[in-house]
Symmetry: D2
Subunit: 146 residues, 4 copies
């Protein structure tokens, strides 16, 4: 089953700017497709651990916000969607530089959405972290199955 | 990074037949590629819950064995690899009929391997479950990084 | 917050006997308390891997059924509760002999229940596996919060 | 099995002050016992989401640092321990005010440590989040089993 976004990338970016006014300089939507989204994050000094690598909470944040934006793009402006669980595997030490997260919607039900997120360093093809996030969706009259 | 198998599909099937003599009639390797494997499972009556759907432990088993076979194909006959954790999301009610699992190696380090597994009904394109499995690898003299 | 069961242990056992007629000889409820339950499983030959230890799917099954029984005891006969995710960590090689699972309800909301399950060998105090299970609850008119 | 710390709480606090110089005003070790530790975090404005609740990354950070400190207290100054995976369940909306995390070591092996962490609001007994974290331990000559 392929999920279709209910808005285009420009509308999604505009909505992100309203909901996350502080996002502007930190992260942005770089691509939107059927059931998928990519988010790029500029890594600031504050995100770095001693040794110059990117901290775990920073990667958690990127995975979580990617899932949020992905769901938003596919169900519309549902501000009450909340993370119920997130499982993250740290695979390799992230290189210095920006991170890119590729999110994929693997379930969009009436009550739950499940997303798979892959984090890569932009300068490098290696996957640095993998996450699965579950969001609880507010009751509504969407037509989506299950 | 793309991982390369250290054996071909025929050798993998032969080894599976030795290690899991009881597998023969229940599941088999249907494809092997760089960093990927597919395993098909014949669903027996014993795997069914009341109502005719496939039980959770059956899907857990298929995810776990797919990860095992995937690692085996990429590091050779390492019989001591053991599952350290498995996270599984049940996405939709599986249809009656065979299940196919697509496994992907997302990290192959010196001590740990991490795999992502997607389970589909064969008659249907819907993903029925998604899992992430971590295996602990025995110490050895493989050349693999990290 | 402490959750209270809505039935006593005898009623729970009777209901388990109705819903899982095949359980009888394999597993049984050994204790029920506020927000907690214990389930004991007789390990059969079929559950053993070569080498005599208990297989992963067997431990998955025990964790999952413990969560199911725990929820059942606290919300009543709700046959439609389904597992949405289960995360299991295998900690040490289980000894031969029976397994006991201690389940604890850490959230009972209107739509989701989350349980923590600890598996021990009965002959030994070592924890052999730890799991967290999330169940989706059917819509209903229970009074439970959130 | 009960694990014993290899240092007392005062030594642990002193070491935390050296390794995390920025921790001082944000979080501190409030208790240390056999296989357990408690960490309290002062919630700053920066940790709050619109609406006044504590953000997911803040809770992730607290769970992760609690696991790190717990392992540190039980194996000594091993600066190379790294998180390999973290699974977190968000159970209820955290109240305003400080958070307290109770960590428990459920496995301390030669190569991996697994911790269970429960997060509570200090003003309230409700569990707001539950996490399981796995750390990879550097090779060494510790006497610990498995």
């Amino acid at each position: 089953m392929t999920y279709q976004p209910v808005m285009d990338a420009a509308t999604l970016r505009q909505y992100v700017a309203e909901v996350f006014p502080q996002a502007g300089s930190r992260w942005s939507v770089s691509a939107l497709g059927p059931g998928t989204v990519s988010v790029t994050m500029a890594v600031s000094d504050r995100s770095l651990r001693p040794g110059g690598t990117i901290s775990g909470p920073t990667m958690f944040f990127l995975a979580d916000v990617t899932a949020y934006v992905l769901i938003l793009a596919h169900i519309g402006k549902v501000e009450l969607a909340v993370t119920t669980s997130l499982n993250i595997n740290f695979l390799s030490r992230p290189p210095l530089g920006d991170l890119i997260a590729h999110g994929r919607l693997i379930k969009l039900g009436k009550r739950l959405a499940v997303c798979e997120i892959h984090l890569h360093g932009q300068a490098d093809d290696t996957m640095v972290a993998q996450a699965t996030a579950t969001y609880s969706l507010p009751p509504g009259d969407r037509a989506a199955g299950q």
